[in-house]
Symmetry: C2
């Protein structure tokens, strides 16, 4: 990745706090983003799957993007999700991200129709890039076949890398398949393939990837950051740190992720409002709340010990 490309390292796919009426709680959201940047995150993925982006209307997403734009958050450390089913919506959100000072966007494919041809898939991204017509735009393709049913195929990547080598710079691989991450990194030199789970952070870094964009980094960011930094230093304890991180991630993978992470933030902050989640997602069942805390504690990760105000690194300056 060049200096103008998306940020390397640990990116949390940030949660979106909501008010009691299930609309985005913008001040709480900005505070959460600042907290994450002060807690080992090199960057943030905003309005992704974990951020419940697809449950928000375009107007609600624009309000989130505007709030980010007006905040003091470092824009070069942010990636904003802008992909929707409908081309005009994706176009509007992408333009808004750029207008807010965020150049890197995470783009889902149009995900309603299935069985899409490579050329149709590539064309849907190309039409957005052509219309945005801004050389500063950096697109990270969002590969999440379990949610979308529309995989970002090697054939589509090939077309887009050929036609937009400086703009289509990366992919978030949420397939859960490390083999796919590694084979894309090998097939497309210079293409920044992030793993979607910090379970594979170290192997993905060793395969040449830029890092992870991960849901669970909302709570595990210091541990993930340790892995990343140990790898950067070629430190011998990277493997041991990855092992600890993997154990915690494995616990979280046993729960519905967004609900579990909102529950974890409820425990960390003591603020019950963190549980607010928009249907069709549902809050964690009470019986599972304790299970979550206890299972994490069994791996040495004590939610009650996390400082809700902690800021080991400045939220406003690159570490």
């Amino acid at each position: 990745m060049t200096g103008s490309g998306p940020v390397r390292g640990v990116l949390a796919a940030a949660l979106t706090p909501m008010t009691a009426d299930l609309t985005p709680d913008l001040p709480a959201m900005i505070a959460h983003f600042q907290w994450l940047l002060g807690r080992g995150c090199d960057g943030l993925g905003i309005l992704g799957t974990t951020g419940e982006a697809n449950s928000f209307s375009v107007a609600e997403r624009l309000s989130i993007i505007d709030a980010v734009g007006e905040s003091g958050l470092p824009k070069d450390r942010l990636v904003v999700g802008t992909g929707t089913c409908a081309e005009p919506d994706t176009l509007e959100l992408t333009r808004a991200a750029l207008a807010a000072g965020v150049k890197s966007v995470l783009m889902l494919p149009p995900f309603y129709y299935k069985g899409i041809a490579d050329r149709g898939l590539a064309e849907s991204f190309a039409r957005i890039i052509d219309r945005v017509a801004d050389g500063d735009l950096r697109v990270i393709l969002y590969h999440f076949p379990r949610m979308t049913g529309v995989p970002i195929t090697a054939g589509a990547i090939e077309i887009l890398r050929r036609d937009y080598p400086d703009i289509v710079v990366g992919l978030k691989d949420s397939s859960g398949d490390l083999g796919n991450t590694a084979s894309l990194l090998e097939a497309f030199p210079g293409f920044g393939v992030y793993t979607g789970t910090e379970r594979y952070l170290l192997p993905a870094l060793r395969a040449g990837g830029p890092g992870c964009i991960s849901a669970t980094a909302n709570v595990t960011s210091p541990m993930a950051s340790d892995v990343f930094r140990a790898h950067e230093r070629s430190d011998g304890d990277a493997d041991a740190r990855q092992e600890q991180l993997t154990a915690v991630r494995r616990v979280l993978d046993g729960f519905p992720l967004v609900a579990a992470l909102k529950e974890a933030m409820t425990t960390i902050t003591g603020r019950a409002g963190w549980r607010a989640i928009r249907p069709p997602l549902t809050p964690l069942e009470p019986a599972r709340e304790r299970e979550l805390r206890d299972s994490l504690a069994a791996e040495g990760f004590d939610l009650d010990a996390v400082d809700p105000e902690s800021s080991p690194r400045s939220a406003l300056a690159k570490p």
Copy 2:
């Protein structure tokens, strides 16, 4: 179904003609809807999968609903698709349908997140119904697991039938599984389960269903109408007519449906503009255009012989 419920019989999931810049061609669209109602369709499903609804922004969908509202189309024969991933969008579209005089809506579940609990799924529909707060509303749930990955489960139907028996009146079963249609009809007496393919029109009618809402009825409506009417008359040739219809449907099922139907309309009308389709969908490859015509002709269905102006039944009065 009561008199105030959605229409029985053959409903085409109507195509949306587009202009050369791939935006909805509203005059051509209204003309197509009138043509279908004059060609054996008892009703129309507007803004469904075949209508490429999910490729349109909310603003574009509203323009379509407004055009329908201002047209002379008989509103009691229409069903408008309003379900999206985002609650505020579904709410706005549903209100717009009612304001346009269309009481029956076809509602997709929020379809981004997978592995949804029954209560979360039911809650997402309930929140729309509660906010619309209009006793005239009639909701047909849209079960299309291959596209959505979010099946409308019997558990969710049970909650909704219990809480909104006069509003949640039906389901479009696009699972392609006749067994599912039959078992839902049996499990929920009085619930109007439409088959999503006219391949199963006659068996679904015999199982007590109200009819079909089908993509291919854009071109097969007279044949489907013959099956429906033969069934209504308890006419002995219903089976033979269904067999002919099934053979034609089987041909169409060998092609990407929306592209194939737009190609068929191109042949019928001689208007090349009918091929316009929004990415990620792609027009039928030229090599397959002739294959489509020839395969249909082999089943006795000659696209060139279809009268683009034909109006065997009045478009404006119920037959």
